[in-house]
């Protein structure tokens, strides 16, 4: 399982109601169901992912996150999770507002564009970074709103969002001490546990 998904699990309480935005193939929700007895519902737009989630026995609802979450009630979930989808949204800040309205607590993970290799790629080549981790070219990428760790911290400060916890994953797929000290430069993926 992806490292950010493993990191999230201890933050989810036993038997919690979890809404997973952009749940992919349902890996996280299946694990939360099996290991933490969570009641999960995933929202997803990709047809193959929906099919795989259905086959896993995960509850998955076809839903475009860009249309908002107006159909979900205030505080109707214990945890609203969005892993590696923030950068694909048209208005990421509005979706975060919605997550905090629907869930008591939220988890957001995203690729850190401030990672030194991205900076180096752009600085030396003058081209949008393409890596094994983010393999898309600029014109066909689903990622339209890259941000950095510092950008996300700023957003939380501007909106008065409480950061309950944060973790940073480095290139060796672990949480090194150096990475924790300089996450904006050294982390590949950022994991935030937030609330209102």
């Amino acid at each position: 399982m992806r490292h950010d998904l493993t990191l999230i699990q201890p933050w989810i309480q036993q038997g919690a109601r979890v809404l997973d935005l952009g749940c992919g193939d349902g890996t996280l929700l299946a694990a939360l169901r099996d290991q933490r007895g969570a009641f999960g519902i995933g929202l997803e737009i990709d047809h193959d992912n929906i099919n795989q989630a259905l086959a896993r026995g995960v509850n998955v609802i076809e839903h475009d996150l860009n249309t908002g979450l107006a159909n979900f009630r205030d505080n109707s979930f214990d945890m609203v999770v969005m892993t590696m989808a923030l950068q694909t949204l048209r208005y990421p800040h509005l979706v975060i507002d919605e997550m905090l309205r629907v869930g008591r607590e939220c988890v957001v993970t995203f690729p850190n564009f401030g990672y030194w290799r991205s900076r180096w790629y752009l600085g030396t080549k003058g081209k949008m970074p393409v890596s094994k981790f983010l393999p898309y070219t600029w014109y066909d990428t689903p990622n339209i709103h890259f941000c950095t760790v510092r950008d996300f911290d700023q957003l939380c400060e501007d909106k008065g969002i409480r950061i309950l916890n944060s973790r940073y994953i480095d290139a060796s797929n672990s949480q090194g001490a150096l990475c924790a000290r300089m996450p904006n430069l050294l982390s590949v993926t950022a994991v935030y546990h937030i609330s209102k």
Partner: protein, 392 residues
């Protein structure tokens, strides 16, 4: 207990083979929601696949407006067309008869053998005709439950229905929550819109204004309101298709005549001849009173009426998991209607999955083996199957 046989000569892959309908007679009165007792009744049904030892693999198929018991396979080698949902029921198909025991029945009020307006009213010795009691979705649930008891089934692995069938499946989940594990609601809605009811009323008016209708007692007059019924079906049929689907299928192509200026003689568009053919075929095989009865049951259906018009409160009674499917070009029961079901289920804390299938076939798409639809349906039923395997 099964009526299915598939001799080698007929072993079409994915088909349940040759099936024979059966009839079950119920002697005890069935109290209908309108207050009338149906003193006795017959149900015609078909089954596919085998009921397992603990009877945990039973799937109930609820039919739509003009459907009946013949959902899969063929009645004979010469049978030109298979059952109405043959695309979804059979070995290897979404409702896989290698694993599930499928029960498909012709609802009461129907005209394919089950007790309905064409049957003799024991009190008068004459056909019920228009005097057949009004039916609600819940009456079908009650009669289906009698069938369930007959087979000794305590809980359905799944109840599956499209359109009006989806309404029956949802009603089941509220009336008998302990007796349903999965509820599959395809191209359906929690209640009809005013536009839906309007179309149904046009259809009914077409039938009742046919001079051969005789207030519904046409059988006694040895006649049939064919023109009215054909017209009703034509109106209905238009609402089952989508504009794009009709455009692709017929465009403005002509069947006869010439549209050039100065040309004389009748002009006929392909779509006109198609609709007329559909209407006539239907009028020869369906009963006018049944059509009126079934469209009324559709109009009356309102999932949340008894729950203070709050679908969330209604669905709190359900205990099963739900799978809701809609089709993009379905304007009769649009995806928005299905999303209302999904939203209410989420708000009621019920497990629910939802797929919105890209299709240009309109409402009829639920009968068509669209690859993504079949895939999603298959994946969901896989989950139902695995639960049965785990339990046994």
């Amino acid at each position: 207990m099964t009526e299915t046989s598939s001799p080698d000569s007929l072993a079409t892959p994915g088909s349940v083979g040759i099936v024979t309908p059966q009839t079950l007679h119920f002697d005890q009165p069935l109290r209908l929601s309108c207050g009338v007792d149906l003193p006795q009744h017959d149900i015609v049904f078909e089954t596919y696949g085998q009921l397992n030892a603990d009877k945990s693999n039973a799937v109930l198929i609820c039919h739509a407006l003009s459907g009946h018991h013949h959902a899969a396979g063929r009645h004979s080698e010469a049978d030109r067309k298979p059952g109405w949902w043959d695309s979804c029921i059979g070995p290897g198909k979404p409702i896989d008869t290698n694993h599930f025991f499928v029960l498909s029945i012709n609802n009461i009020g129907g005209c394919h053998g089950s007790t309905g307006p064409r049957s003799i009213n024991p009190a008068t010795g004459k056909p019920w005709g228009a005097s057949f009691p009004h039916l609600r979705c819940r009456d079908w649930v009650e009669s289906q439950r009698l069938m369930m008891r007959h087979f000794g089934i305590d809980q359905w692995a799944a109840i599956v229905g499209g359109s009006l069938g989806g309404m029956q499946a949802m009603r089941w989940s509220l009336e008998y929550p302990d007796e349903v594990r999965h509820c599959l609601v395809i191209a359906s809605a929690m209640k009809l819109s005013a536009q839906n009811i309007a179309f149904n009323e046009v259809a009914r008016q077409a039938i009742t204004s046919d001079p051969d209708f005789h207030g519904g007692d046409y059988l006694e007059h040895n006649t049939l309101p064919r023109t009215g019924l054909a017209l009703a079906r034509m109106v209905g049929h238009i609402t089952y298709l989508s504009e794009d689907g009709m455009k692709q299928k017929f465009g403005r192509e002509l069947k006869a005549g010439d549209l050039r200026l100065g040309s004389v003689g009748p002009v006929e568009f392909q779509v006109e001849s198609y609709l007329r053919h559909q209407g006539e075929t239907f009028a020869n095989s369906f009963d006018a009173n049944t059509y009126i009865l079934m469209t009324r049951a559709l109009d009356y259906f309102d999932l949340a009426r008894e729950y203070d018009d709050d679908p969330v409160a209604a669905f709190r009674h359900a205990k099963c998991s739900f799978f809701v499917v809609s089709f993009t070009s379905d304007w009769r029961f649009s995806p928005a209607r299905s999303r209302e079901i999904v939203d209410a289920l989420v708000a009621a804390n019920r497990p629910v999955s939802y797929a919105e299938i890209e299709a240009d076939h309109g409402h009829d798409a639920f009968l068509i083996p669209i690859p993504r639809y079949m895939q999603a349906f298959h994946s969901y039923m896989q989950r139902v199957k695995e639960e049965i395997n785990h339990a046994s």
